[in-house]
């Protein structure tokens, strides 16, 4: 467990032996490459486009009727009424609705792809409870036809997470939903990594069943705490190395540990926590766990009981990513209420997100949000479409740490846009055109913009 200690000892000894030489010469500084699999994403060919006369939900809580949206060089240039632009392709969107590109913070596309096959089941490294060293991006099969299906549903950005078998499942990665035959070709440039953690039933069932820890919820907590304690030591060792080196000494670098690199990234605020956690009492403990070790507890995923601690989530700045109505498949999903998202959302400074965790419902995340809005309004809430859209756009972008780049139709942001045939919160709603960085990536009525995965190509 304390894997780096021996090398620290070696370092200490070597510093002691060579102490007299330290001012003479420094060895080359050991730097950790934090981006070894960099994005190669390039936006698809685009033209400047002016979409006119749409009902626009901006993602900032605003609705503008009969509005125009101008996309220039892949960015949102202007949103307003009566715009014009020389040389821009005009799209008449009379009677149609326009929203920011839809963002799903919880997907396993590519790591649990279709067709379901043993050979492609790459989402859970269920071999030990802490696998912070694995990265979901290394499992992604970019040919998963599910990516095309999701694009037809308006998904422009999505986070691919490892599964929830482990206390620490590994790193998640945020993708642009564009066709590519490499993972790097989809990777969202400069999006932070996520770290998947899991509370509750799954880890204790998976490892309890193997007669190893954790087999209880207290075992879960012990597992997190031991890992964070070790990560704190690891970070301290690297911080000391950095400080000593900066002071002109010639320290020996701590031994590299890929697992602890990820946890250290969290402690440094560079990697965001995405925590599969259903129950109120467990989320409350995970918030304290973050405080105990000095990191932010991030986004709670599934969060069936978030409504029970809505105040606490808002106070602590946690996002909660939820389903509208999934429940009952296990004990920790028993206390579902259909207004969960709305109750969380009603608090000041809240961050309510609707997620899918499904290759099927990711295709209709708009309707998933709609179900919440209508059920809440049936029961005393007054939620408007211009607000409900934030659950699958702006708030989702905030959860993923990319709110400065996408999630709303504000000037200068990436031109990620969906044109809907009608109010997107209707069961009959369909995305007609989808744009990522100003480039059309899907058109319901033009086969040219309907990508097909290698897997489907040439199938009888």
């Amino acid at each position: 467990m304390q894997k780096f200690i021996p090398s620290l000892l070696v370092a200490a000894v070597s510093v002691a032996l060579t102490g007299c030489l330290q001012s003479d010469k420094q060895d080359e500084k050991v730097e950790i490459n934090k981006n070894p699999y960099p994005s190669t994403y390039q936006s698809l060919p685009s033209t400047n486009t002016l979409i006119r006369h749409a009902t626009v939900l901006t993602g900032t809580g605003e609705r503008i009727d009969n509005a125009d949206v101008l996309m220039i060089d892949g960015k949102i240039s202007q949103v307003g009424v009566g715009l014009s632009a020389d040389g821009a392709v005009e799209v008449d969107a009379s009677g149609k609705w326009l929203t920011p590109g839809i963002i799903d913070v919880h997907s396993h596309l590519g790591v649990y792809p279709s067709p379901s096959a043993e050979s492609h089941s790459d989402g859970n490294e269920a071999t030990q409870p802490n696998t912070s060293e694995v990265w979901a991006e290394h499992s992604i099969w970019p040919q998963d036809p599910g990516f095309q299906r999701a694009r037809a549903g308006g998904i422009t950005t999505l986070q691919i997470l490892p599964g929830s078998a482990n206390l620490f499942g590994g790193r998640g990665v945020t993708l642009r939903n564009v066709p590519s035959h490499t993972m790097q070709g989809m990777k969202f440039p400069e999006a932070p990594y996520g770290l998947k953690m899991a509370c509750g039933e799954n880890p204790k069932r998976v490892y309890g069943g193997k007669k190893v820890s954790p087999s209880t919820r207290m075992g879960n907590m012990a597992g997190y705490r031991m890992a964070w304690a070790e990560a704190s030591e690891y970070k301290r060792a690297w911080d000391k190395y950095e400080a000593d080196y900066a002071a002109g000494k010639n320290p020996e670098a701590p031994a590299r540990d890929i697992e602890l690199d990820t946890l250290k990234g969290v402690l440094e605020g560079e990697i965001l926590i995405h925590n599969h956690c259903y129950k109120a009492e467990e989320m409350a403990m995970m918030i304290d766990l973050g405080k105990e070790f000095g990191y932010h507890s991030g986004t709670f995923h599934h969060a069936i009981e978030a409504y029970k601690i809505a105040d606490k989530l808002a106070e602590n700045g946690n996002c909660a990513a939820m389903w509208p109505d999934w429940w009952g498949f296990k004990m920790e999903a028993y206390d579902m209420v259909q207004e969960n998202v709305a109750i969380v959302d009603a608090k000041a400074n809240s961050c309510a997100v609707v997620h899918s965790d499904s290759a099927t419902t990711i295709q209709r995340l708009n309707q998933e949000a709609g179900k919440v809005m209508y059920r809440a309004n049936d029961n005393g809430f007054d939620i408007k479409p211009e607000h409900a859209i934030t659950w699958i756009t702006a708030n989702a972008a905030k959860s993923l740490g990319i709110a400065d780049k996408t999630g709303s139709l504000e000037t200068g942001k990436n031109a990620d846009v969906v044109l809907w045939n009608r109010n997107p919160f209707s069961v009959y709603a369909q995305a007609e055109q989808v744009f990522v960085d100003g480039a059309k990536v899907y058109d319901r009525f033009d086969e040219k913009y309907q990508a097909k995965s290698d897997f489907m190509l040439g199938q009888q």
Partner: protein
């Protein structure tokens, strides 16, 4: 105000099953009969003794009259192919009664049906009044038999048992799919021979034959067409093999799943075999490479009798109407979509419901608007003519956690 609402819910939960023998007239409704009558505007439906006794009578003399204000009245929706009442929490083994390792063709899970399951009250929110429950069975090809239950939440919920035989065919994680199709054919052939032999023998010596075993009787009921055979199958080749069995043995065949049905839609239509499909499954498997959201519309256009079933976990049954809406968005007419969750199911499983017609069970739903729309809710519903609440435990939890109270939440009841 919140506290008041909470007590209303408690009341609703307590009186959810109060019976009524009075006549009820629902007036001024947009009545979707799902019969040749089509849709009747400003219509009146009268309920008496749990059945529909009149539609648009000359005069109305009912104990209770409900003005529907022009809203949609449909038959109650009929769910199918799930484990309603047999599972409370899927991952809690002691609340599961749909599977049994030793289950065979005789397995009838209806004795385990729990009318007090919270899933039942919750499913009423989706306008579901009746459900065809199927067991998981065990490792054998035959999973047991379906039964029909209503969603009244009463002890007498079971409508009929041994309603259909379930057989699981198609892709296998071990072994070959051919083996089980072959086994099914052999079983039917052997039973047919045995019946012929018994008939011959009975003619010769007029001595009463020894009674067939339970499983033999069930196979015989398939051969006589008394009982439908529901076969899970996806790939076109499996469907064709089943159609051949139907032809050779004159089975009352129903295919469930049928992801690849579109390739052989004409054959299915010609054979008049109903198919039970999910409308939202559009991800490829090797058995159903081309399933798409348009499959439902194309099958219906090809003349196939289609039933929609909610796919996945039983707890999602209430979403059936939304799935029907997705089918409509992808080309199915609203009338056909409604039939696919009412009359078509009733026909296949011999349920006296699913249509608004005189003599049918008064399983009715009055909707705030379009039954398939996300924004619509159930305003009123009746099962066997008794009004039922759509309130469930979920509402009580919501009220508890949105109520104002100085005491811990546990005191808000």
């Amino acid at each position: 105000m919140k506290l008041f609402k909470t007590s209303l819910i408690a009341l609703a939960l307590a009186t959810a099953s109060s019976a009524s023998a009075d006549t009820i007239a629902i007036t001024n409704a947009k009545v979707h009969t799902v019969t040749e009558q089509g849709v009747l505007d400003n219509a009146t439906v009268v309920i008496e003794d749990g059945v529909i006794s009149a539609i648009n009578p000359d005069s109305v003399d009912a104990d209770t009259t409900i003005d529907a204000q022009g809203k949609n009245l449909t038959p109650g929706l009929i769910g199918s192919m799930n484990q309603l009442g047999l599972v409370e929490v899927s991952a809690v083994s002691r609340t599961r009664d749909a599977g049994e390792e030793k289950a065979d063709i005789t397995f009838d899970a209806s004795a385990a049906f729990n009318p007090y399951s919270t899933v039942i009250a919750y499913s009423r929110k989706g306008g579901i009044t009746t459900n065809v429950v199927v067991p998981y069975g065990g490792s054998k090809m035959f999973k047991g038999q379906a039964f029909v239950a209503d969603l009244s939440g009463d002890l007498d919920s079971i409508v009929s048992t041994n309603s259909a035989v379930i057989v699981d065919l198609g892709a296998k994680s071990k072994g070959s799919r051919a083996f089980e199709i072959q086994k099914l054919r052999h079983k039917l052939e052997d039973a047919q021979k045995a019946l012929a032999k018994a008939a011959e023998k009975a003619k010769d010596d007029k001595k009463s034959e020894k009674e067939p075993k339970r499983d033999e009787k069930i196979i015989n009921s398939l051969l006589s067409g008394e009982k439908p055979l529901i076969a899970y199958a996806e790939r076109a080749t499996d469907i064709m093999a089943l159609l051949a069995l139907k032809k050779d043995f004159e089975l009352d065949l129903v295919i469930s799943g049928a992801g690849d049905a579109l390739r052989v839609a004409e054959h299915i239509a010609t054979a008049q075999v109903p198919v039970i499909i999910g409308t939202i499954g559009n991800l490829p498997s090797f058995d159903a490479l081309h399933s798409s959201l348009e499959s439902a519309a194309k099958l219906i256009d090809a003349g196939v009798n289609v039933i929609f079933a909610q796919s996945g976990d039983t707890h999602n049954l209430y979403q059936l109407r939304f799935d029907a809406g997705v089918a409509v968005a992808n080309g199915v007419s609203k009338d056909n979509a409604l039939a696919a969750v009412t009359a078509n199911v009733a026909d296949v499983f011999n349920i006296n419901a699913g249509r608004i017609a005189v003599g049918k069970k008064a399983d009715l739903v009055l909707w705030s608007d379009d039954p398939f729309e996300l924004s619509t809710k159930v305003e009123k519903m009746w099962i066997d003519g008794v009004e039922k609440s759509t309130t469930s435990r979920h509402d009580a939890l919501r009220e508890r956690y949105t109520a104002e109270s100085e005491l811990p939440r546990a005191y808000t009841k």
